[in-house]
């Protein structure tokens, strides 16, 4: 399974990357904003994307919309500090399969990951 981690914080990207190293992830790619995420998505076609929202150049919600245009079956988990319900609803309306609020725990990241895989398998 190939994972694309999108976040403008290298610390957050590293935490997610180190966490998923213990899972069945064979390839991990990174992007620091939505624009770069689209480039990596087109080139690598990852199976799962974790997507921050507040980023320079292109925000995560715009990136979710563009990725869903590229692949309507894309599996995207939005991971953001924006904790209001309306943002989570908007992310899901755009096509995200899940929403995880920062700061997250390892258990919450696991749970969100499993949820996305189960939803996709259903």
């Amino acid at each position: 399974m190939r994972l694309l981690i999108v976040d403008d914080s290298s610390i957050v990207r590293r935490i997610i990357e180190r966490h998923f190293r213990n899972h069945a992830i064979t390839e991990i790619y990174e992007a620091s904003n939505g624009q770069k995420a689209l480039e990596v998505y087109r080139e690598k076609a990852p199976d799962l994307v974790t997507m921050d929202i507040t980023m320079p150049e292109m925000d995560g919600l715009s990136a979710v919309r563009h990725i869903m245009e590229i692949n309507p079956k894309a599996r995207i988990l939005v991971i953001s500090a924006l904790a209001d319900a309306a943002t989570a609803v908007e992310a899901v309306k755009l096509g995200a399969r899940g929403f995880l609020c920062k700061p997250f725990t390892a258990a919450e990241l696991d749970e969100a990951f499993v949820d996305i895989l189960e939803i996709s398998a259903a």
Binding site: R18, T54, L82, A83, A86, K102
Partner: protein
Amino acid sequence: MTESELQVFIDGTTRYFGRTTRRPAIVDPPFLKGEESFLLDYTGVIGISGKQRGTIYFSATTDMLSELILSMGAGLPYMEDSSLRDMVGEVTNTISGNARKEFGGMFMISVPVVVKGNQAGLYMPSNLTSFVIPVIWGAHKAFLVVCLE
């Protein structure tokens, strides 16, 4: 800014440290900011727009940010300038973004800008009141400054 609005940022700060490091931070009583500068080694600054306008910044020492990076298990060079900038920006972004749970989606936050050092002052709108929230985490002290309409 009301007392309950200020409490949102106090709660957000303690939650951040508790969840990311499992070592809760202690917050001293907030106070009104005067002329004194509360800029430490690195400061993350976020602009607020939408329903409310203002500025939020979190300022911390190099030692505190280094220990925070280590505690989070990011495995990054914890003394490098780029890591320290990243860390202070992420703390500011998370605390500010979490406030939308209470303030709603029209509490719009900018991408964080990071300022290094304490030589230059930060512009805070003079017509707005700024509150300083001292944050104690282990042996370290940082400041969250909230300036909102």
